[in-house]
Symmetry: C2
Subunit: 142 residues, 2 copies
């Protein structure tokens, strides 16, 4: 079911410092900062030849990564995102296997349908699934 | 400097249960278990189209991931591994930028030279670098 590793997301307290670290110290290609107020994060993408790293910092008081950064003040690996062809079929299959899907599919940072799987069902790893075969249609909107 | 994402390593308390989870629930291709006594871990590789996930469990009383699993009993993302062309040049460049390299390059799980970077210098992320262009000596040739 899972396909490519779309990205590894790393939460950081200071996005500009992290951007400099990845570009200057690690010598990687780093995008400009993008604010995603609907997701409560600001992000930059580190482009690698085969995948990307998403560095993200909290945006706004209700940011979903504030709790993570309280527990990990200097930052840390937050989640991995795997691509799937059909997010509804993936969700149905996972629920049938006993995994907990967190909420309903919604539009992710790339404008595609995503959902998250409970880290307690996956050995402490928060997993995002992103549908890449077809863009989000209005029927997915929550 | 950093190239491809070679793998994401996830520490798990039970490798056979984790193998079943990734093969049966997530539908991925999972290798047989390999014991690496010189690294204190047993591993399986989850093959994705563009990279791989390394699931690892402690092997022996001195396993380097025992402390991580004490802090994270159900497991969690442990490190990311980036490929570099020349591990000595990479190490020199990183030290010159003020990053702390943990020890000397050594032979990693894939028989290639690796080194680890201090997570405190990289926003809480333990980074492994693996040299893929040329082995340290002819004895490392695959």
């Amino acid at each position: 079911m899972i396909g490519r590793l779309n990205h590894v997301a790393i939460a950081v307290p200071d996005l500009r410092a992290a951007s400099r670290l990845y570009s200057e110290t690690l010598g990687a290609e780093v995008s400009a900062v993008t604010d995603l107020p609907e997701h409560g994060v600001s992000v930059v993408f580190v482009t690698l030849p085969n995948t990307k790293i998403e560095l993200m910092a909290p945006l706004g008081d209700g940011s979903p990564i504030l709790g993570f950064l309280e527990r990990n003040p200097s930052g840390g690996m937050h989640h991995v995102c795997y691509e799937v062809d059909d997010i509804i079929a993936a969700s149905d299959q996972l629920v049938a296997k006993g995994a907990r899907v967190l909420g309903e599919p919604r539009t992710g940072a790339h404008g595609l349908p995503v959902l998250f799987l409970h880290p307690k069902d996956f050995h402490g790893t928060l997993i995002e699934l992103e549908e890449v075969a077809r863009p989000l249609s209005s029927s997915f909107h929550q």
